[in-house]
């Protein structure tokens, strides 16, 4: 079979699958949306989102890596089907779990989400969910509702507009619609991800993983506005798993996703550490260490979170993680700074010297080079 015939056959199979799935789920994708009249409320919203998109393109928070951008854009395209030309992905360097799609087709994906997904299928589940909101035009319904309730600022927060996001939790504006809209977007998202060839069973795992982080907070689930407005997470996971059971098969693409994101991993982990949400970060990093025990980046990052939290037993845990990272090899230079600083605090000069010396050797351009050098020189012989 030549390439053209193979692709044609593939497209045919895909079309059959789409029809089958859509029938099974009683859902059909709408035709592409025309730009609304500017004078209408929806037209005004599009114009506002167009301005926001222009600002986003110029933003220093935009992650401008052509390869990663193309990868995620291609995924969004496969999910969106014939709406592909209307979907524009923007990667945003912000360490929170968030994706949002505006009615004009602007799809924001934050790096906190990219860090948290285990594979392409999980990312596809979130993108598919957001595209589901877009295809079902939930934002327009929310716009009218928000205007009637004078809650326009909160409404803008749906799309991750910086000025309108007053509170940044683990989950920023993702999953911020009402209960019925969320369930419908889950359903459409599952259909889209399966149609695109992904394992729909991965969708429920995102919730499972997020719950690990949210439950790790000192206040647990009790103060999460997300769970005050939405179906109980267990119910939602069950519903997603049930949807997936009806459409078996598909791939997750774990290795491909890890390879694609590896160049950004250290930056994203540093952003996660800097969030200062120690308990959530520890839950996340523990999960990642179990998933990828041969990657020193996760062991270093968890050690650094323990070091910065500095609670009972935390410095011992930090030392153990730093040593584990060093034992794996290829560890970030900051692993040795962490060891040096803990031993300095504990007045163990030989060990402190070893750590700080190694850090200065590995990171001569580090911004804190002068500070660490002074510490090293001040250590008693």
């Amino acid at each position: 079979m030549n390439r053209r015939r193979f692709l044609a056959a593939g497209a045919g199979c895909s079309a059959c699958l789409v029809a089958e799935l859509a029938a099974a789920q009683d859902w059909q994708a709408p035709a592409r949306f025309a730009r609304p009249e500017l004078a209408s409320d929806e037209g005004g919203l599009w114009a506002l989102m167009d301005r926001e998109e222009t600002r986003l393109r110029r933003s220093p928070f935009a992650l401008r890596d052509p390869q990663l951008h193309t990868h995620v854009q291609d995924m969004a395209c496969r999910l969106a089907g014939e709406h592909c030309p209307d979907v524009r992905v923007h990667l945003v360097r912000t360490p929170y779990f968030n994706a949002s799609m505006a009615p004009n087709g602007m799809l924001q994906v934050w790096t906190g989400l990219l860090l948290r997904v285990d594979n392409e299928a999980q990312l596809a589940a979130v993108l598919g969910h957001e595209i589901g909101h877009y295809l079902a035009r939930h934002s327009v319904e929310r716009l009218r509702d928000a205007k009637s309730r004078s809650a326009f600022g909160q409404f803008l927060g749906l799309f991750g507009i910086a000025g309108a996001v007053g509170q940044l939790g683990l989950i920023a504006s993702m999953f911020a619609y009402g209960r019925e809209h969320e369930s419908e977007a889950d359903r459409i998202g599952a259909i889209l991800m399966r149609k695109a060839g992904y394992d729909a069973g991965e969708a429920a795992k995102i919730w499972e993983n997020l719950l690990l982080e949210i439950k790790a907070r000192p206040e647990g689930l009790s103060n999460s506005p997300l769970f005050a407005r939405h179906p109980a997470p267990d119910d939602r996971m069950e519903a997603l798993a049930s949807l997936a059971a009806g459409m078996p098969g598909g791939v997750a693409n774990d290795a491909a996703w890890r390879e694609r994101t590896k160049p950004f991993l250290r930056d994203w982990l540093n952003d996660e550490i800097k969030r200062g949400q120690h308990e959530e970060s520890l839950a996340l990093l523990t999960r990642m260490m179990l998933r990828s025990p041969s990657m020193p980046e996760y062991a270093y990052a968890r050690g650094e979170v323990y070091r910065l939290r500095a609670g009972d037993g935390d410095l011992d845990s930090a030392i153990a993680d730093f040593k584990a990272a060093a034992a794996i090899g290829g560890e970030p230079a900051e692993t040795h700074r962490g060891l040096g600083m803990i031993y300095r605090l504990r007045k163990q000069p030989a060990e402190a010297r070893s750590g700080l010396q190694r850090y200065l050797e590995l990171a001569p351009q580090a911004p804190d080079f002068a500070m660490m050098k002074t510490y090293l020189e001040e250590l008693p012989q």
Binding site: L48, R55, R58, S59, P60, F61, R93, T94, Y96, F152, G153, L156, I161, A162, G163, A164, V165, Q167, L168, G169, E219, S222, N223, P225, K274, R275, G276, Q277, L308, A310, R337, M341, R344, L345, P367, D368, A370, M371, T374
Partner: protein, 191 residues
Amino acid sequence: MTRKLLGALFLVSLAGCAAVAKVETGDQAIGERMALRLEGAWNHVNAPGMGPAQVWTMEGLPVDQLLLYSGIKDGALIHPGGPAGGARKSFAFRSSMQPDEIVAMFEGMLTRDGSSFRLVKLEPTAFGGRGFRFEYSLVRKVDNVQHAGIGYATVSKGELFALLYFAPRIEFFPRHRGRVESIARTIQIKN
């Protein structure tokens, strides 16, 4: 439009309950234990709920800010307290903190709204005795404006003394950096 509205609300709120006082040239006491000398006047913005730092400005908020911390005790927050259980992380000083941890604490405070902080330099310096200074860049999430900043800090008798300044990287930061560095050189901390 939303940003303009928020800005207008901010100004209205400031007009309603904030007081701006001129800080004169000469010796000034900040809290009970910190003193400094000014070579030019600043504006001190005071309003309920502004947190433990004195907030000074040359150009007006929110263009530039000089935060002065004096005698922050172990366990105290370094920013205005939010509602209990809010989604934003709180950042508190611990007397056992090392300089890089103090910088990380300020970094956390400055990025609570999703802004981006990058440490440029951290080095020891004389600041009220034995202290350290750091330089940083800050991109504000709310308006994407790129700022530059400098900070100085020391821990004396378990209390934190610090000075943080930041302003837009172009024009405003270079204009006032020298003034801030002069202030830092005059800091004295009483034992």
